[in-house]
Symmetry: C2
Subunit: 215 residues, 2 copies
Protein backbone atom coordinates (compact mmCIF):
# COMPACT_ATOMS: atom_id res chain seq x y z
CA UNK A 1 0.00 0.00 0.00
CA UNK A 2 1.07 3.57 -0.63
CA UNK A 3 1.93 5.64 2.40
CA UNK A 4 1.53 8.84 0.44
CA UNK A 5 0.41 11.86 2.42
CA UNK A 6 -3.06 12.96 1.37
CA UNK A 7 -3.83 16.39 0.02
CA UNK A 8 -0.93 16.32 -2.38
CA UNK A 9 -2.32 14.59 -5.39
CA UNK A 10 -5.57 13.53 -6.95
CA UNK A 11 -6.36 10.37 -8.85
CA UNK A 12 -3.30 8.47 -7.64
CA UNK A 13 -3.49 4.77 -8.48
CA UNK A 14 -3.61 2.79 -5.22
CA UNK A 15 -4.09 -0.60 -6.85
CA UNK A 16 -1.94 -2.35 -9.41
CA UNK A 17 -2.73 -1.56 -13.03
CA UNK A 18 -3.33 -4.69 -15.09
CA UNK A 19 -0.60 -4.69 -17.70
CA UNK A 20 0.85 -6.70 -20.52
CA UNK A 21 2.56 -9.14 -18.12
CA UNK A 22 1.96 -12.77 -19.05
CA UNK A 23 0.52 -13.53 -15.59
CA UNK A 24 -1.98 -10.67 -15.91
CA UNK A 25 -2.96 -11.85 -19.38
CA UNK A 26 -3.40 -15.47 -18.25
CA UNK A 27 -5.56 -14.36 -15.31
CA UNK A 28 -7.58 -12.03 -17.52
CA UNK A 29 -8.26 -14.94 -19.89
CA UNK A 30 -9.17 -17.10 -16.90
CA UNK A 31 -11.81 -14.55 -15.87
CA UNK A 32 -13.35 -14.84 -19.34
CA UNK A 33 -13.58 -18.61 -18.90
CA UNK A 34 -15.15 -18.19 -15.42
CA UNK A 35 -17.78 -15.81 -16.73
CA UNK A 36 -18.54 -17.89 -19.81
CA UNK A 37 -19.02 -21.01 -17.67
CA UNK A 38 -21.38 -19.17 -15.31
CA UNK A 39 -23.25 -17.86 -18.32
CA UNK A 40 -23.94 -21.46 -19.33
CA UNK A 41 -21.54 -21.79 -22.25
CA UNK A 42 -20.68 -25.27 -23.48
CA UNK A 43 -22.70 -28.35 -24.35
CA UNK A 44 -22.27 -31.44 -22.19
CA UNK A 45 -19.75 -32.87 -24.66
CA UNK A 46 -17.90 -29.58 -24.92
CA UNK A 47 -17.68 -29.23 -21.13
CA UNK A 48 -16.04 -32.64 -20.78
CA UNK A 49 -13.41 -31.48 -23.27
CA UNK A 50 -13.06 -28.12 -21.47
CA UNK A 51 -12.50 -29.96 -18.18
CA UNK A 52 -9.80 -32.13 -19.73
CA UNK A 53 -7.98 -29.13 -21.21
CA UNK A 54 -8.17 -27.21 -17.92
CA UNK A 55 -6.84 -30.20 -15.97
CA UNK A 56 -3.94 -30.42 -18.45
CA UNK A 57 -3.19 -26.71 -17.88
CA UNK A 58 -3.34 -27.18 -14.11
CA UNK A 59 -0.98 -30.19 -14.34
CA UNK A 60 1.58 -28.08 -16.21
CA UNK A 61 1.29 -25.07 -13.89
CA UNK A 62 1.44 -27.11 -10.70
CA UNK A 63 4.71 -28.76 -11.68
CA UNK A 64 6.45 -25.39 -12.07
CA UNK A 65 5.05 -23.61 -8.99
CA UNK A 66 7.80 -22.71 -6.50
CA UNK A 67 7.66 -23.73 -2.81
CA UNK A 68 4.81 -21.87 -1.10
CA UNK A 69 7.08 -19.88 1.23
CA UNK A 70 9.14 -18.61 -1.72
CA UNK A 71 6.00 -17.60 -3.62
CA UNK A 72 4.63 -15.85 -0.52
CA UNK A 73 7.85 -13.88 -0.07
CA UNK A 74 7.83 -12.87 -3.73
CA UNK A 75 4.15 -11.88 -3.90
CA UNK A 76 4.47 -9.60 -0.85
CA UNK A 77 7.27 -7.59 -2.44
CA UNK A 78 4.90 -5.95 -4.94
CA UNK A 79 3.64 -2.44 -4.09
CA UNK A 80 0.78 -1.97 -4.61
CA UNK A 81 -0.12 -5.67 -4.20
CA UNK A 82 -0.94 -7.65 -7.35
CA UNK A 83 -2.50 -10.75 -5.79
CA UNK A 84 -5.46 -9.73 -3.58
CA UNK A 85 -9.02 -10.91 -4.35
CA UNK A 86 -10.40 -7.38 -4.94
CA UNK A 87 -7.87 -5.37 -6.97
CA UNK A 88 -5.23 -7.96 -7.87
CA UNK A 89 -4.51 -8.32 -11.60
CA UNK A 90 -2.91 -11.68 -10.74
CA UNK A 91 -5.97 -12.95 -8.85
CA UNK A 92 -8.77 -14.45 -10.98
CA UNK A 93 -11.27 -13.94 -8.13
CA UNK A 94 -10.76 -10.14 -8.31
CA UNK A 95 -13.03 -8.25 -10.75
CA UNK A 96 -10.34 -6.53 -10.62
CA UNK A 97 -11.36 -3.15 -9.22
CA UNK A 98 -8.89 -0.27 -9.57
CA UNK A 99 -8.77 2.18 -6.66
CA UNK A 100 -7.60 5.78 -6.77
CA UNK A 101 -6.70 8.21 -3.99
CA UNK A 102 -8.25 11.66 -4.05
CA UNK A 103 -6.93 15.00 -2.81
CA UNK A 104 -9.73 15.17 -0.22
CA UNK A 105 -8.42 12.00 1.44
CA UNK A 106 -11.00 9.62 -0.01
CA UNK A 107 -10.45 6.65 -2.29
CA UNK A 108 -12.78 5.32 -4.96
CA UNK A 109 -13.11 2.82 -7.74
CA UNK A 110 -15.63 1.54 -10.26
CA UNK A 111 -16.44 -2.04 -11.17
CA UNK A 112 -19.06 -4.02 -13.07
CA UNK A 113 -19.85 -7.49 -11.75
CA UNK A 114 -21.13 -10.47 -13.72
CA UNK A 115 -22.83 -13.76 -12.80
CA UNK A 116 -19.95 -15.22 -10.71
CA UNK A 117 -20.74 -12.54 -8.09
CA UNK A 118 -24.50 -13.13 -7.92
CA UNK A 119 -26.41 -13.40 -4.65
CA UNK A 120 -30.15 -12.65 -4.96
CA UNK A 121 -31.49 -13.04 -8.51
CA UNK A 122 -29.84 -10.48 -10.80
CA UNK A 123 -28.03 -8.80 -7.92
CA UNK A 124 -24.64 -8.86 -6.23
CA UNK A 125 -24.11 -11.20 -3.27
CA UNK A 126 -24.14 -9.25 0.00
CA UNK A 127 -20.90 -10.95 0.99
CA UNK A 128 -19.25 -9.73 -2.20
CA UNK A 129 -20.10 -6.09 -1.48
CA UNK A 130 -18.74 -6.72 2.02
CA UNK A 131 -15.50 -7.95 0.42
CA UNK A 132 -15.24 -4.88 -1.85
CA UNK A 133 -15.91 -2.56 1.09
CA UNK A 134 -13.53 -4.20 3.56
CA UNK A 135 -10.75 -3.88 1.02
CA UNK A 136 -11.61 -0.31 0.02
CA UNK A 137 -11.81 0.84 3.65
CA UNK A 138 -8.38 -0.69 4.23
CA UNK A 139 -7.02 1.13 1.19
CA UNK A 140 -8.53 4.41 2.45
CA UNK A 141 -6.56 3.93 5.66
CA UNK A 142 -3.34 3.37 3.73
CA UNK A 143 -4.04 6.50 1.64
CA UNK A 144 -4.64 8.48 4.84
CA UNK A 145 -1.31 7.25 6.20
CA UNK A 146 -2.47 5.12 9.16
CA UNK A 147 -3.57 1.62 8.34
CA UNK A 148 -4.30 -1.54 10.27
CA UNK A 149 -6.27 -4.75 10.41
CA UNK A 150 -10.06 -4.95 10.45
CA UNK A 151 -11.39 -5.34 14.01
CA UNK A 152 -15.07 -4.70 13.28
CA UNK A 153 -17.07 -4.12 10.12
CA UNK A 154 -20.75 -3.20 9.99
CA UNK A 155 -22.62 -3.34 6.71
CA UNK A 156 -26.04 -1.82 6.14
CA UNK A 157 -27.81 -3.02 3.02
CA UNK A 158 -30.11 -0.24 1.85
CA UNK A 159 -31.14 -1.60 -1.54
CA UNK A 160 -30.10 -4.52 -3.73
CA UNK A 161 -26.82 -3.96 -5.62
CA UNK A 162 -27.31 -4.65 -9.34
CA UNK A 163 -25.18 -6.93 -11.51
CA UNK A 164 -24.11 -5.85 -15.01
CA UNK A 165 -23.87 -2.10 -14.35
CA UNK A 166 -21.20 0.25 -12.99
CA UNK A 167 -20.82 0.25 -9.21
CA UNK A 168 -19.07 3.12 -7.46
CA UNK A 169 -17.12 2.04 -4.39
CA UNK A 170 -15.80 4.82 -2.15
CA UNK A 171 -14.31 5.14 1.32
CA UNK A 172 -12.61 7.61 3.62
CA UNK A 173 -10.94 7.54 7.00
CA UNK A 174 -13.13 9.18 9.62
CA UNK A 175 -10.91 9.32 12.71
CA UNK A 176 -7.83 7.93 14.39
CA UNK A 177 -8.34 7.46 18.14
CA UNK A 178 -5.16 6.06 19.67
CA UNK A 179 -4.67 2.66 18.02
CA UNK A 180 -8.27 2.56 16.76
CA UNK A 181 -9.05 3.80 13.27
CA UNK A 182 -12.60 4.50 12.12
CA UNK A 183 -13.35 4.36 8.42
CA UNK A 184 -16.52 4.37 6.35
CA UNK A 185 -17.57 3.71 2.79
CA UNK A 186 -20.35 2.97 0.34
CA UNK A 187 -21.23 0.96 -2.73
CA UNK A 188 -23.53 2.91 -5.05
CA UNK A 189 -25.26 2.31 -8.36
CA UNK A 190 -26.79 5.04 -10.53
CA UNK A 191 -25.90 7.57 -7.83
CA UNK A 192 -27.84 5.82 -5.08
CA UNK A 193 -26.22 4.10 -2.10
CA UNK A 194 -26.81 0.34 -2.01
CA UNK A 195 -24.56 -0.61 0.92
CA UNK A 196 -22.94 1.44 3.69
CA UNK A 197 -19.97 0.21 5.70
CA UNK A 198 -18.44 1.37 8.93
CA UNK A 199 -15.20 -0.18 10.04
CA UNK A 200 -12.97 -0.15 13.07
CA UNK A 201 -9.36 -1.02 12.36
CA UNK A 202 -6.50 -1.53 14.77
CA UNK A 203 -3.04 -0.23 14.05
CA UNK A 204 -1.15 -3.50 13.76
CA UNK A 205 -0.02 -5.74 10.96
CA UNK A 206 1.00 -9.29 10.36
CA UNK A 207 4.63 -9.59 9.24
CA UNK A 208 5.28 -9.97 5.54
CA UNK A 209 6.89 -13.26 4.55
CA UNK A 210 10.57 -12.86 3.68
CA UNK A 211 12.72 -14.63 1.18
CA UNK A 212 14.83 -17.40 2.62
CA UNK A 213 18.48 -16.52 2.97
CA UNK A 214 21.16 -18.76 1.52
CA UNK A 215 20.82 -22.01 -0.39
CA UNK B 1 -32.89 -23.32 -0.38
CA UNK B 2 -34.57 -26.07 1.60
CA UNK B 3 -37.64 -25.11 3.57
CA UNK B 4 -37.28 -28.19 5.73
CA UNK B 5 -38.55 -27.91 9.28
CA UNK B 6 -35.73 -28.16 11.79
CA UNK B 7 -35.58 -30.76 14.50
CA UNK B 8 -36.39 -33.57 12.14
CA UNK B 9 -33.06 -34.54 10.73
CA UNK B 10 -29.35 -34.12 11.28
CA UNK B 11 -26.62 -33.63 8.72
CA UNK B 12 -29.00 -32.71 5.89
CA UNK B 13 -27.13 -31.30 2.87
CA UNK B 14 -28.21 -27.67 2.36
CA UNK B 15 -25.79 -26.97 -0.47
CA UNK B 16 -25.40 -28.73 -3.77
CA UNK B 17 -23.03 -31.69 -3.77
CA UNK B 18 -20.37 -31.42 -6.46
CA UNK B 19 -20.99 -34.35 -8.77
CA UNK B 20 -19.83 -35.94 -11.97
CA UNK B 21 -21.65 -33.35 -14.09
CA UNK B 22 -19.45 -31.93 -16.85
CA UNK B 23 -20.03 -28.34 -15.61
CA UNK B 24 -18.91 -29.30 -12.09
CA UNK B 25 -15.84 -31.02 -13.47
CA UNK B 26 -14.92 -28.05 -15.70
CA UNK B 27 -15.31 -25.65 -12.76
CA UNK B 28 -13.32 -27.94 -10.46
CA UNK B 29 -10.50 -27.99 -13.05
CA UNK B 30 -10.75 -24.20 -13.34
CA UNK B 31 -10.21 -23.88 -9.58
CA UNK B 32 -7.00 -25.91 -9.96
CA UNK B 33 -5.80 -23.47 -12.63
CA UNK B 34 -6.71 -20.48 -10.41
CA UNK B 35 -4.78 -21.88 -7.47
CA UNK B 36 -1.77 -22.89 -9.55
CA UNK B 37 -1.55 -19.40 -11.09
CA UNK B 38 -1.70 -17.75 -7.63
CA UNK B 39 0.95 -20.17 -6.47
CA UNK B 40 3.23 -18.80 -9.17
CA UNK B 41 3.17 -21.69 -11.61
CA UNK B 42 4.37 -21.06 -15.16
CA UNK B 43 7.43 -19.44 -16.66
CA UNK B 44 6.93 -16.24 -18.67
CA UNK B 45 6.89 -18.23 -21.91
CA UNK B 46 4.53 -20.82 -20.47
CA UNK B 47 2.12 -18.14 -19.20
CA UNK B 48 1.81 -16.60 -22.67
CA UNK B 49 0.83 -20.03 -23.97
CA UNK B 50 -1.56 -20.55 -21.02
CA UNK B 51 -3.22 -17.21 -21.80
CA UNK B 52 -3.68 -18.16 -25.46
CA UNK B 53 -5.21 -21.52 -24.57
CA UNK B 54 -7.56 -19.94 -22.02
CA UNK B 55 -8.66 -17.28 -24.50
CA UNK B 56 -9.40 -20.05 -27.03
CA UNK B 57 -11.52 -21.85 -24.42
CA UNK B 58 -13.36 -18.63 -23.58
CA UNK B 59 -14.02 -17.98 -27.30
CA UNK B 60 -15.62 -21.41 -27.64
CA UNK B 61 -17.71 -21.14 -24.48
CA UNK B 62 -18.91 -17.61 -25.20
CA UNK B 63 -20.28 -18.59 -28.62
CA UNK B 64 -22.52 -21.27 -27.09
CA UNK B 65 -23.78 -19.36 -24.03
CA UNK B 66 -27.56 -18.83 -24.12
CA UNK B 67 -29.16 -15.37 -23.76
CA UNK B 68 -28.59 -14.08 -20.21
CA UNK B 69 -32.28 -14.08 -19.25
CA UNK B 70 -32.62 -17.74 -20.30
CA UNK B 71 -29.53 -18.70 -18.31
CA UNK B 72 -30.81 -16.78 -15.29
CA UNK B 73 -34.16 -18.56 -15.45
CA UNK B 74 -32.44 -21.93 -15.71
CA UNK B 75 -29.90 -21.37 -12.95
CA UNK B 76 -32.60 -20.33 -10.47
CA UNK B 77 -34.51 -23.59 -10.93
CA UNK B 78 -31.86 -25.61 -9.09
CA UNK B 79 -32.58 -26.42 -5.43
CA UNK B 80 -30.27 -26.11 -3.62
CA UNK B 81 -28.58 -23.50 -5.83
CA UNK B 82 -25.52 -24.62 -7.82
CA UNK B 83 -24.16 -21.22 -8.90
CA UNK B 84 -23.51 -19.07 -5.81
CA UNK B 85 -19.99 -17.85 -4.93
CA UNK B 86 -19.79 -19.73 -1.61
CA UNK B 87 -21.25 -23.22 -2.08
CA UNK B 88 -21.88 -23.43 -5.82
CA UNK B 89 -20.22 -26.37 -7.59
CA UNK B 90 -20.78 -24.43 -10.84
CA UNK B 91 -19.08 -21.26 -9.55
CA UNK B 92 -15.26 -21.16 -9.77
CA UNK B 93 -15.15 -18.38 -7.13
CA UNK B 94 -16.72 -20.74 -4.55
CA UNK B 95 -14.25 -22.88 -2.52
CA UNK B 96 -16.94 -24.59 -2.65
CA UNK B 97 -18.08 -24.99 0.94
CA UNK B 98 -20.72 -27.63 1.69
CA UNK B 99 -23.27 -26.74 4.37
CA UNK B 100 -25.30 -29.14 6.47
CA UNK B 101 -28.35 -28.59 8.65
CA UNK B 102 -28.32 -29.97 12.18
CA UNK B 103 -31.15 -31.24 14.37
CA UNK B 104 -30.53 -28.40 16.84
CA UNK B 105 -31.39 -25.84 14.14
CA UNK B 106 -27.80 -24.82 13.32
CA UNK B 107 -25.95 -25.19 10.05
CA UNK B 108 -22.25 -25.77 9.54
CA UNK B 109 -19.58 -26.47 6.99
CA UNK B 110 -15.84 -26.88 6.66
CA UNK B 111 -13.52 -25.40 4.08
CA UNK B 112 -9.80 -24.93 3.44
CA UNK B 113 -8.78 -21.76 1.59
CA UNK B 114 -5.70 -21.28 -0.57
CA UNK B 115 -3.83 -18.22 -1.91
CA UNK B 116 -6.69 -16.79 -4.03
CA UNK B 117 -8.46 -15.94 -0.75
CA UNK B 118 -5.49 -14.24 0.95
CA UNK B 119 -5.80 -10.89 2.77
CA UNK B 120 -3.04 -10.29 5.36
CA UNK B 121 0.09 -12.39 4.78
CA UNK B 122 -0.73 -16.08 5.15
CA UNK B 123 -4.29 -15.36 6.28
CA UNK B 124 -7.78 -15.16 4.84
CA UNK B 125 -9.05 -11.79 3.60
CA UNK B 126 -11.53 -10.29 6.09
CA UNK B 127 -13.95 -9.70 3.23
CA UNK B 128 -13.81 -13.38 2.32
CA UNK B 129 -14.80 -14.49 5.84
CA UNK B 130 -17.60 -11.89 5.60
CA UNK B 131 -18.74 -13.56 2.38
CA UNK B 132 -18.68 -17.05 3.94
CA UNK B 133 -20.60 -15.80 6.98
CA UNK B 134 -23.25 -13.80 5.10
CA UNK B 135 -24.02 -16.88 3.04
CA UNK B 136 -24.01 -19.27 6.00
CA UNK B 137 -26.28 -17.01 8.07
CA UNK B 138 -28.68 -16.88 5.11
CA UNK B 139 -28.63 -20.67 4.87
CA UNK B 140 -29.28 -20.96 8.64
CA UNK B 141 -32.41 -18.86 8.10
CA UNK B 142 -33.58 -21.14 5.29
CA UNK B 143 -32.95 -24.20 7.49
CA UNK B 144 -34.95 -22.58 10.31
CA UNK B 145 -37.81 -21.98 7.86
CA UNK B 146 -37.87 -18.16 7.77
CA UNK B 147 -35.41 -16.55 5.44
CA UNK B 148 -34.88 -13.11 3.97
CA UNK B 149 -32.39 -10.63 2.62
CA UNK B 150 -29.47 -9.21 4.61
CA UNK B 151 -30.32 -5.81 6.11
CA UNK B 152 -27.34 -5.48 8.44
CA UNK B 153 -24.26 -7.56 9.07
CA UNK B 154 -21.69 -6.94 11.81
CA UNK B 155 -18.41 -8.78 11.78
CA UNK B 156 -16.00 -8.89 14.71
CA UNK B 157 -12.51 -10.06 13.85
CA UNK B 158 -11.05 -11.70 16.94
CA UNK B 159 -7.90 -13.24 15.47
CA UNK B 160 -6.49 -13.72 11.98
CA UNK B 161 -8.11 -16.58 10.02
CA UNK B 162 -5.43 -18.93 8.66
CA UNK B 163 -5.06 -20.11 5.08
CA UNK B 164 -4.28 -23.76 4.28
CA UNK B 165 -6.08 -25.33 7.26
CA UNK B 166 -9.64 -26.43 7.98
CA UNK B 167 -12.06 -23.64 8.88
CA UNK B 168 -15.33 -24.39 10.64
CA UNK B 169 -18.16 -22.10 9.62
CA UNK B 170 -21.35 -22.31 11.69
CA UNK B 171 -24.53 -20.28 12.11
CA UNK B 172 -27.94 -20.41 13.75
CA UNK B 173 -31.08 -18.30 13.76
CA UNK B 174 -31.43 -16.42 17.04
CA UNK B 175 -34.89 -14.84 16.81
CA UNK B 176 -37.70 -13.83 14.49
CA UNK B 177 -39.27 -10.50 15.50
CA UNK B 178 -42.03 -9.62 13.08
CA UNK B 179 -40.35 -9.25 9.69
CA UNK B 180 -36.89 -8.98 11.26
CA UNK B 181 -34.75 -12.07 11.64
CA UNK B 182 -31.65 -12.16 13.84
CA UNK B 183 -28.97 -14.71 13.06
CA UNK B 184 -25.42 -15.24 14.23
CA UNK B 185 -22.40 -17.29 13.27
CA UNK B 186 -18.68 -17.87 13.52
CA UNK B 187 -15.61 -18.87 11.55
CA UNK B 188 -13.22 -20.93 13.67
CA UNK B 189 -9.86 -22.59 13.21
CA UNK B 190 -8.40 -25.23 15.54
CA UNK B 191 -11.43 -24.79 17.79
CA UNK B 192 -10.92 -21.07 18.34
CA UNK B 193 -13.24 -18.39 16.97
CA UNK B 194 -11.57 -16.10 14.40
CA UNK B 195 -14.61 -14.08 13.28
CA UNK B 196 -18.07 -13.57 14.78
CA UNK B 197 -21.03 -12.34 12.74
CA UNK B 198 -24.39 -10.98 13.75
CA UNK B 199 -26.94 -10.37 11.05
CA UNK B 200 -30.34 -8.80 10.73
CA UNK B 201 -32.38 -10.08 7.82
CA UNK B 202 -35.73 -8.89 6.53
CA UNK B 203 -38.39 -11.31 5.39
CA UNK B 204 -38.57 -10.41 1.72
CA UNK B 205 -37.12 -11.76 -1.49
CA UNK B 206 -36.35 -10.66 -4.98
CA UNK B 207 -38.37 -12.58 -7.56
CA UNK B 208 -36.66 -15.45 -9.32
CA UNK B 209 -36.22 -14.99 -13.06
CA UNK B 210 -38.68 -17.07 -15.06
CA UNK B 211 -38.30 -18.79 -18.38
CA UNK B 212 -39.78 -16.88 -21.30
CA UNK B 213 -43.04 -18.31 -22.55
CA UNK B 214 -43.43 -19.17 -26.21
CA UNK B 215 -41.08 -18.55 -29.09
Amino acid sequence: MQQTTTGEADGVALSAEPGARPADEAVSALRRVQRALLRGGGTTAALADVAARLHALADELETTAPPTEDRMAEMWQATPPRHDPVTGPENPLAPPMRLHGRADGSVDGTTVLDLPYQGPPGHVHGGVTALLLDHTLGTANAWAGTSGMTAELTLRYQRPTPLFEPLEVAAHQVAVEGRRIRTSGTVSARGRVCVRAEGVFVDKRLPKPRARVGP
